[in-house]
């Protein structure tokens, strides 16, 4: 699939958040944990764009914050360019040499810009801290990055409230690419923008990727955007990656029932009878607090479930070339589902 070692390799990553008050008495009460990310493994190759999709609350944001090293993982390893970075505490990761190589564009451009910093100061921030640039060198680099992201020079002196949504998004992107990262995490970079601006920003991201030789981890709700931009996609549900594979292939023939339901919810222009093709998932997601480790996360909402789904947690296995699904009854072998259940 990819030549040589991956740029980012995540193995068995877990993040558990303690829930509720810690018991003072009795001491022996077992604390509850919310499993936000529960044993996730995947890799991102050099120059690859990987899409991460899933519903709200499935752990996408926690996963990207673990990879961006803003959060400490509870378990598992994060290897970047062959080096383990998951063990460096997030509070001290600012001093790690990889800090500048993994950068992130935030979902809400307004919230991610300090209202008291001008656009210039915002873009200069990583250069000041990570590159120790100053004076003319700093101004030159900021101007260069601004040019790359299509920000005109007169906008650099403005404060965030004096910029439009698209301009703020550009400032956020400029700040992220200023220190020449190799992996750029895009956390729904266009969800807060108008549709017309979205297209322009997505185009900009595509151009930057080619020019700067970046790898993208692209988190999005917008499946059409993911299909267009991404080489590979990861489908996440309740802290687990339930399916991964080449974007075109997964979109054409989803193997996991959850992916199938997710894709059927994408509105398609012209399909007025869309209701009939839509596959609904009944009920609510299972609770992420102290989930039973052997039950499939989709159990209870899945029409294909059998006893096997409560007996053992399905793991990712190859369904087709490069396409993996964590399901006992993947759709690819839907012809004989009973056989699978029996086996």
């Amino acid at each position: 699939m990819m030549a040589g070692e991956a740029l980012l390799a995540v193995e068995g990553l877990r993040k558990l958040f303690p829930v509720g008050k810690r018991a003072i008495w009795p001491r022996n009460r077992v604390p509850s944990f919310l499993h936000a990310v529960d044993g996730v493994s995947f890799a991102i190759g050099r120059g690859e764009t990987v899409g991460l999709v899933g519903e709200s609350g499935c752990g996408k944001s926690t996963l990207v914050r673990l990879i961006a090293r803003l959060l400490d993982p509870s378990d598992g390893s994060i290897r970047f360019d062959g080096e383990e970075i998951g063990t460096v505490p997030a509070r001290r990761f600012g001093l790690a040499p990889q800090r500048g190589q993994i950068q992130m564009v935030f979902q809400d451009a307004t919230d991610s810009l300090n209202p008291h910093f001008t656009a210039f100061r915002a873009i200069a921030d990583p250069l000041l801290r990570l590159r120790r640039l100053s004076g003319a060198a700093l101004r030159a680099r900021v101007a260069e990055v601004a040019r790359l992201t299509g920000l005109s020079a007169d906008l650099l002196g403005r404060y965030p409230h004096q910029l439009s949504g698209g301009q703020k998004a550009r400032v956020g992107i400029a700040r992220a690419i200023a220190v020449e990262p190799r992996l750029l995490i895009l956390d729904e970079p266009t969800s807060a923008l108008d549709v017309s601006v979205q297209v322009v920003i997505l185009q900009l991201l595509q151009d930057l990727k080619r020019q700067l030789n970046l790898s993208y981890l692209f988190v999005s709700h917008d499946l059409n955007v993911v299909r267009l931009l991404c080489d590979r996609i990861l489908v996440m549900y309740l802290g687990h990656i339930v399916e991964s594979g080449p974007a075109g292939q997964v979109f054409a023939a989803p193997a996991h029932p959850y992916t199938q339901a997710l894709l059927s919810a994408v509105p398609r222009p012209g399909a007025s009878a869309g209701r009939s093709t839509r596959i609904g998932l009944p009920g609510e997601p299972r609770s992420p607090i102290d989930p039973a480790p052997q039950i499939c996360p989709l159990y209870g909402r899945c029409g294909r479930a059998s006893e096997a789904c409560v007996a053992s947690m399905p793991v990712l296995r190859e369904i087709a070339a490069g396409q993996f699904a964590a399901c006992h009854h993947p759709i690819a072998d839907a012809v004989e589902p009973r056989l699978m259940a029996a086996g």
Partner: protein, 280 residues
Amino acid sequence: MNTLRHARYVLGENPVTALAFAGFFVLVLCAVFGPALAPYDPLASDTAQALTGPSAAHWFGTDQLGRDIFSRIVVAARLDLGIAVFSVALAFGVGALLGLAAGYYGGWIDRVVGRSVDTIMAFPLFVLAMGIVAALGNSVANIVFATAIINLPIYARLARAEANVRRHAGFVEAARLCGNSEARIVLAQLLPNIMPLMMVQVSLTLGYAILNAAGLSFIGLGVRPPTPEWGIMVAEGASFIVSGEWWVAFFPGIVLMAAVFCFNLMGDGLRDMVDPRRRT
């Protein structure tokens, strides 16, 4: 510079604020050049001229020892303003740091700071200030110290609340991605964001601090006579109001009131000056 131009814009837009700043400027002028500006020696008594009303020679009249009240008011500005500014600076500095640390880090720092501040707030504040000055001794440094302590909780609580709502803001995460240390995030990223609200508080507490210092002197716990100080002058003049010599207490009182008024009115202007979102 940009900031100066913005400050001029704020003052031009708001004449009341401009007036307050002008009043503050006059007070600062008196504080710096007071002894040179005063027409008489504030300590020189002249019993022949005792308790004369306002006249061309003595604008605000004379007190029971024949001292010129106008001169005493002008000279006292340095002491009163000094106590107010230093105590507010101390309360602001310590309170903002404690509050920021409590709000940003949470956990045990938050609990320790929160409970300590609650303990201070549990006392009637003026009585607490009296107690501190009485216990530590009657000196200007102790008045500053006492006034700072009773003003500290407001700053600590305000900074804590403002830092707490911003600790998970996107720009804080972004700052961490940019390689900022935790201390730098607190001081260079969060502090500027809470400055507008803090400045409003500064103007309010400056007025309160001056009243507090005057109040302590009024009950005999602050500066000692014959040092010119607004609170003492009001206290000394109070006994003459019944016998008709109203000016002895009236003029220091009105100046005290004007100073407090002026500080409070400055608040909005100060906020607008440190808040870039007010720029258009």
